[in-house]
């Protein structure tokens, strides 16, 4: 394995993902992976596979585990919601850490997001700015997740529900709504009770009539069975 590593050293054009793919079990790339976590934070990018590879190397040699880095990986994983990355990362984090700060807090935050308890999520997040606000893009990533779940669920969503998911109120919510009305096809109007309602763009999940009827398709597998008859 060492020789492979040396060879790559001569080829600096390899991306971190390629490096991970070539060295899935090589402790020598640990410093690069840690640096890459910092880079993802700074540049607002994300690479689940390389972060997972780093957690694996920590799992193999727990004495190398860097709590600060793991925290950043976990916050980035929360930001990747609705992907299940956070839970998958926690499967590799030693259990003794699960009950300690900040891992316990992060697990609580994840639980709120998984069960769509946005009010509780934002309250808890506000109490833990020190670990979350150092990660640029945190708030907007969670808001995107909120919008994702709302779009799966609602055709018309009451303003109050939207406000809770996005953690926005008053003018800043108005601005957010205007922006999406102009760019993402949201429609704002008055609902039955007189309060504001937002119509979200329809998709096959909030509008079952759009669903393709799977029964209408015939797979090639089935048709190919007929070839001998047709021949």
């Amino acid at each position: 394995m060492v020789s492979e590593w040396e060879r790559e050293q001569e080829q600096p054009q390899l991306t971190m993902e390629q490096l991970v793919a070539l060295n899935p079990y090589n402790p020598d790339i640990l410093p690069d992976l840690e640096a890459y976590v910092q880079e993802q934070v700074a540049t607002e990018t994300y690479s689940f596979d390389s972060n997972l590879c780093l957690l694996r190397l920590y799992q193999f040699e727990p004495r190398n585990l860097n709590v600060n880095i793991v925290t950043k990986i976990l916050v980035k994983a929360l930001m990747a919601m609705p992907a299940p990355d956070f839970g998958l990362c926690m499967c590799l984090v030693p259990e003794r850490l699960h009950m300690l700060h900040p891992f316990f807090t992060l697990a609580t935050l994840s639980h709120y997001l998984e069960t769509a308890r946005f009010r509780e999520f934002w309250d808890e997040a506000a109490r833990n700015r020190d670990i979350l606000e150092v990660i640029p893009g945190f708030e907007s990533a969670i808001q995107s997740y909120g919008v994702h779940v709302l779009s799966l669920t609602y055709q018309k969503v009451p303003r109050a529900v939207l406000a809770e998911a996005l953690n926005l109120e008053g003018l800043s919510l108005d601005k957010y709504l205007e922006f999406h009305a102009a760019n993402s096809g949201w429609k704002l109007h008055k609902g039955h009770g007189g309060s504001q309602v937002v119509t979200l763009p329809s998709n096959e999940y909030n509008d079952p009539s759009q669903r393709k009827n799977a029964g209408d398709n015939i797979s090639l597998d089935v048709v190919s069975k007929l070839f001998p008859v047709l021949a």
């Binding site: 899935p24 499967c91 069960t115 029964g215 015939i218």
Partner: protein, 531 residues
Amino acid sequence: MAAGYERDGYGGYEDSYDERPDDAHPPDYVPDYVKSFVGYLYRSIREKNVYEVHQMYESSFSKLSERFFSKSHWPSAELVAPYVDNDHVFCLLYKEMYYRHVYAKLNVTFQERLESWDNYCNLFTVILHGNVNMQLPNQWLWDMVDEFIYQFQAFCQYRTKLKNKTEQELSWLKQYDEQVWNVYGVANFLQALIDKSEILQVLEEEKDGAVTAFSANDGYDYEGGSNVLKVLGYFSIIGLARVHCLLGDYHTALKRLAHIDLTQHGVYSSVIGCHITAAYYYGFSNMMMLRYIDAIKTFNQVLVYISKTRQYHQKSSQFEWILKKNEQMYALLAICLWFCPQWHLVESENARSDSQRNETVTHQLKEKRGEKLSKMHKNDEAAFDECFSYACPKFISPSLPDLSDTSGNYSQEAYRLQLKLFLSEVRQQQLLNKIRNYVKLYTTISIAKLASLVEVDEATLRMALMTYKHKTHYIDDDGSVASTADVEFYIDEDVVHIAEPKVTKRFSEIFVRHILKFDELVGDLERVALE
């Protein structure tokens, strides 16, 4: 014991002996039946007679083990070497069987764990870097990968139980930590077998529709070459997926298995142990990643397969293992169906003729796990705990525990973590089945009314409905949303609209089946007319 099997034209080896186990022999004594066994096996390997090798390996070895070595070691490789021209590679293969027998039947000493590791290193190194010109049965090659991982797993388990260790053992553990059964070593050997065999390129070609000689010949090489490296590389893909799953890394496990299409026949299905292992770890990893539909389909498919072929495996030494995995997968299927009640994906009770009705997966599932399922539906957490604990793989901690605290028992650590995360998933989805049951009864229902039926407040209900949507929709590898939802609905302000359950009758398949039947009938009729 009769002379096992008749071999037309192969007169060489006979495994019925009258000799009885005898303790009176000196320690370097090699009984005649061992001499002739190794001699004949060696000759068959040299002659590339895969059929004979397979018989010797599969049948004779276990028969002899059962009869003469049920409580003792086979003679050491050094002792049998003179009867096989001192062939280095053969001795490595012999030792592979030798230690497997020790692990299966005897108490393994630290020394033996260490020696077996060394032997795998030497064997794999020869295969990777030497010029091995053998043709070995797929069964044996699979068993090598399987056993290699099993012994690794056993070592990790052994290492976590510090309580009864002697000073000597503790100091060995420390001394050999980075050399023996080290997780890097294990993973990198499997990875090296995959890389060096270039098997991924072969499988890539097949994805594009090509039929390669590899799959057409079940991995064997009839062009005078060797199948050993290729097939070992292939099985190592499944082996590594298993290792990742044992470590709790389900994402990487599935990434590994993505190279093999488990819905089609392949080399993996030529060995039942491999077939079941692949399906089990694929299904389990999917379950842990909330991809219940893939898990249900896989479990259903392999359970049907086992039920239809079990009679052929009754005499196999693996039969008990097959039954155990069968039971475990029923338990996992029950769990998946609690999360995602899409029973139509499971072989229905009407799928087979009346006499075989009881064999269908749905029937068996109700029979075996019906009680557990109803407990799960009552949100009895113990039922989930029991099902999961019974059916989950034996998770491992890959690192050396803290040796300074020998009072600790770390053997459950890895398992407890996975169980805990699983149960928290169950808790997150606990309310969803109740909602499913009510929602199914309506085409529209107000949030207020549904909330009172489910016995929660409106805000909680809205959150639960979003949770349902989140848990039943995942982002697929290509970035699109995929659904595992059994009930489709949307909310329009304060009213839930439920889509009519779609009856997806597979007309196409029914028609195709009848066209083929009709064609066959016409063919039969035409033949009659000609005579």
